[in-house]
């Protein structure tokens, strides 16, 4: 049985990689992927604590979150597609219309 700490460390690493991807990369697809990584880090925590506490409800949440993440990825990709059609780019430092 893998100790809880390993899993939490793995989860923290995944979170940090995702965070780095969000703030540092310009491509919107990569940012979206980074968000998915962060989400997976959270799901990993659910699963880890579920097996630690012998409580299956954590795994139910993990499945639910996966489904929601899939939907969210679909919406996000649709938004980026739309942005690309209107602005001709999905470089985030060029897309600046969320401002005053």
């Amino acid at each position: 049985m893998i100790p809880l700490e390993y899993e939490l460390v793995l989860s923290a690493l995944l979170f940090s990689i995702g965070l780095y991807g969000i703030v540092a990369r310009k491509n919107a697809i990569i940012v979206l992927m980074s968000i998915e990584i962060i989400l997976n880090a959270a799901i990993l925590n659910f699963v880890a604590f579920s097996s630690y506490h012998n409580d299956p409800s954590g795994q139910v949440f993990a499945l639910l979150a996966l489904a929601v993440a899939a939907a969210e990825a679909a919406v996000g990709l649709a938004v980026f597609l739309s942005i690309y059609q209107t602005h001709g780019t999905i470089e985030l430092d060029k897309v600046r219309f969320l401002r005053w």
């Binding site: 985030l92 430092d93 600046r96 401002r99 005053w100």
Partner: protein, 702 residues
């Protein structure tokens, strides 16, 4: 018993409201409404008169009070409240019944005549409304129960007179004449008002009957001889103004600027008689009741008679030279009113002396004056309306542009001849009886008091002059060649019919004295027995009548010789400088009007200008200074408001805007910088939570 008497006044008043408010929409400006209402008053007055005669007025005094309402409640306890209350009620006695009948009858005729005369005028509804109001005022004046009520209706008449003289208000002369009439009569009215106030001060009542009663009961205890002299003189002041006696006569000739119907109704037949009526009412002071032990105020009586006699001769001289057909008649009206006042004065003297001697008082003078009032109302209305008929035909007032109108206007010329004969006093026309009676009474008094002999001479001379100028007028209008333009035509029947009726009265109203066994029985004054004019009178009286008749015939003869037969050329009257001066003086009306104008224009207007200067410079200066102070304060307040208050508000809003500007600079639209912020925020929150919980643990655990 006589409650319907209220309707006599209320009918014309209703007509005033109807024609005044709706007249524009009615045919003839509501003239038919006015005629109908006044005719209603006439019928009621006739019935009232009949009942009064049946009620005992023939051969004795009769009076009844028709209660109206309490206008101003009295003060004090229950009895005093009853006594001092000021009521609006009607007094029905011989005099007021006769006056009601006379006024309503003449008003009806003249209103009918107006239907023809005013047919083509603008603003007829105004005319009929004002005439209706006037008739209501006159009827109210002669039936008032007390002096205050009398004054109210008296002033209504004055107002209507003003309005009707100025009926053609766009003509400057008419507007000026209206103003003059109003202001000159006002002088008299103020004196009258003072008299009324003195009456209140003495008697604490205005009612004629109550005053008589108090005089009879308390006599010298309530009034001093001085006050008894003063009160009738003050009341006479009102009569002088209204009846155009010297020195307030100046307004009446100018009042001829109004429509001729107005001159006939107001300035000949009715309103100017109100002054005579008032003097007749003031007999309660002139001849105090027998039981009171008071002496009659002979000085006041002499003054009144002298004013009357002087006015008679004075106005007649001015009538000699006038060329305006209506002004000649106006001067003769003033002169005849003077006769009436003279007759009342002589009558009062006669009654007073009889009273002092303890004899039965003789009412000859009183009834003669009222008899003349009665007759004069008919023939003067007739003369004015005939003159109106002539003016209607030739469109001018100037006698010099008339002449030869007898042929085209047969009815008018004949009825006017009737009027002229009555005015001149030729037997058997009405003027002869009453004028002769007045002169006879004056002579009779003159036998006791020589001053009245002088007045008798003035009266006889006036009779001569009256006959002269009346026939001068008639000959210049109707005989000889026509000197004007156009083709004059006889007036319509609606105008000539009233003329014929009035001509009938000019002939027979004098003879009425006979079936009434003397006019005294008709308007008989209390405590006196009837006099019988011409019936069973001494030879002396026939002689006196002969003198007045002779004077009249002489006057007519002279007028015939000058203006009809041309035996004496009219230029003879102005041939020498002194005669020319006399003529000038008479035509300028003794310069009295000029003097009044000068007083009005220079003195009063100068005073007015002084006040105007004071107003403009002093009062306006103060007002302007206050205004400027206010403006300066306001400017300061404005500056404070703009600079300080608005400044603070503006600064606040400006800072808010700037802050907002700076803040929104942070909204770059860089999604990733937002993400940075989120991360930093989370780190900060975690750090705070950890830091604070560590700190708290340290605090708690020590």
């Amino acid at each position: 018993m006589f409650e319907y008497a209220w309707l006599i006044i209320l009918l014309p008043l209703a007509s005033f409201l109807i024609t005044g408010l709706l007249g524009k929409r009615l045919p003839q400006g509501g003239g038919h409404v006015a005629v109908g209402a006044i005719a209603g008053s006439f019928v009621l007055s006739a019935y009232l008169f009949y009942e009064v005669l049946l009620g005992g007025a023939l051969g004795s005094a009769f009076h009844a009070t028709v209660d109206g309402f309490v206008w101003i409640p009295g003060t004090g306890d229950a009895v005093e409240q009853q006594e001092t209350a000021i009521r609006i009620s009607l007094l029905i006695d011989n005099l007021s019944a006769l006056m009601l009948l006379l006024v309503s009858f003449l008003s009806m005729l003249i209103a009918t005549y107006s239907l023809g005369y005013m047919r083509e005028e603008e603003g007829k509804h105004r005319y009929y409304a004002e005439v209706s109001l006037f008739v209501a005022g006159m009827l109210g004046t002669v039936s008032a129960d007390n002096f205050l009520q009398l004054l109210i209706f008296w002033e209504i008449m004055g107002l209507c007179s003003y309005l009707l003289i100025g009926f053609w208000y766009h003509k400057p002369e008419a507007a000026k004449a209206a103003k003059k009439a109003f202001l000159v009569t006002r002088v008299g009215d103020v004196i009258f008002l003072v008299g009324i106030l003195v009456i209140w001060g003495v008697f604490h009542t205005f009612s004629f009957l109550e005053i008589t009663e108090k005089l009879e009961l308390e006599g010298a205890a309530i009034i001093t001889p001085q006050l008894l002299t003063l009160i009738p003189l003050l009341i006479f002041g009102g009569a002088v103004g209204k009846s155009a006696q010297f020195p307030l006569h100046a307004w009446l000739p100018d009042a001829m600027e109004g429509p001729t119907t107005v001159s006939a109704l107001i300035h000949a037949a009715t309103m100017v008689k109100a002054g005579v009526y008032l003097v007749a009412r003031s007999f309660i002071f002139l001849v105090p009741p027998a039981g009171s032990g008071l002496d009659p105020p002979f000085n006041a009586i002499l003054f009144i008679a002298a004013i009357g006699g002087f006015t008679a001769v004075f106005a007649a001289t001015m009538g000699l030279t006038a060329y305006d057909i209506k002004r000649v008649l106006a001067f003769s009206t003033i002169s005849q009113l003077g006769y009436m006042i003279l007759g009342l004065g002589a009558g009062a003297w006669l009654m007073g002396t009889a009273l002092v001697r303890g004899e039965e008082p003789e009412t000859a003078g009183y009834s003669a004056a009222l008899f003349h009032l009665f007759n004069h109302a008919f023939f003067k209305a007739l003369l004015f309306l005939s003159a109106g008929s002539v003016i209607h035909a030739v469109h001018t007032n100037d006698l010099r542009e008339m002449g030869g109108l007898g042929r085209p206007m047969p009815i008018t010329s004949k009825v006017m001849l009737f009027g002229a004969l009555a005015l001149a006093g030729i037997i058997p026309f009405s003027g002869f009886f009453s004028k002769g009676e007045i002169l006879a009474v004056t002579y009779e008094v003159g036998l006791e008091e020589p001053a009245f002999l002088l007045l008798y001479v003035a009266g006889a001379v006036t009779a001569f002059m009256t006959a002269f100028y009346t026939f001068r007028l008639w000959f210049m209008t109707f005989s000889g060649e026509y000197r004007g333009h156009g083709h004059p035509r006889e007036s319509p029947a609606v105008m000539t019919a009233p003329l014929v009726v009035l001509a009938g009265f000019a002939l027979v109203s004098g003879l009425l004295a006979f079936p009434m066994q003397g006019f005294g029985n008709l308007v008989f004054y209390e405590r006196a027995h009837a006099s019988l004019p011409l019936v069973g009178v001494p030879v002396l009286e026939y002689l006196l009548e002969g003198v007045s008749l002779g004077a009249a015939v002489l006057g007519i003869g002279l007028a015939w010789a000058v203006y009809r037969a041309k035996r004496i050329p009219a230029e003879r009257f102005t041939a020498t400088p002194s005669r020319a001066f006399l003529h000038e003086m008479l035509s300028r009306r003794y310069w009295i009007d000029d003097v009044y104008d000068a007083i009005g224009a220079r003195l009063v207007a100068g005073f007015g200008r002084g006040l105007d200067w004071f107003d403009r410079n002093v009062i306006d200066g103060i007002v302007n200074a206050v205004g400027r102070g206010g403006a300066a304060t306001a400017a300061g307040s404005d500056a404070f408001d703009r600079r300080i208050v608005d400044g603070a508000v503006n600064a606040l809003s400006l800072e808010t805007v700037r802050t907002g500007w700076r803040m929104r600079q942070r909204q770059t639209g860089q999604v990733q910088s937002y993400a940075w912020m989120v991360v930093l925020g989370i780190v900060l929150v975690i750090a705070l939570v950890v830091g604070i919980s560590w700190y708290l643990r340290v605090q708690r655990g020590g």
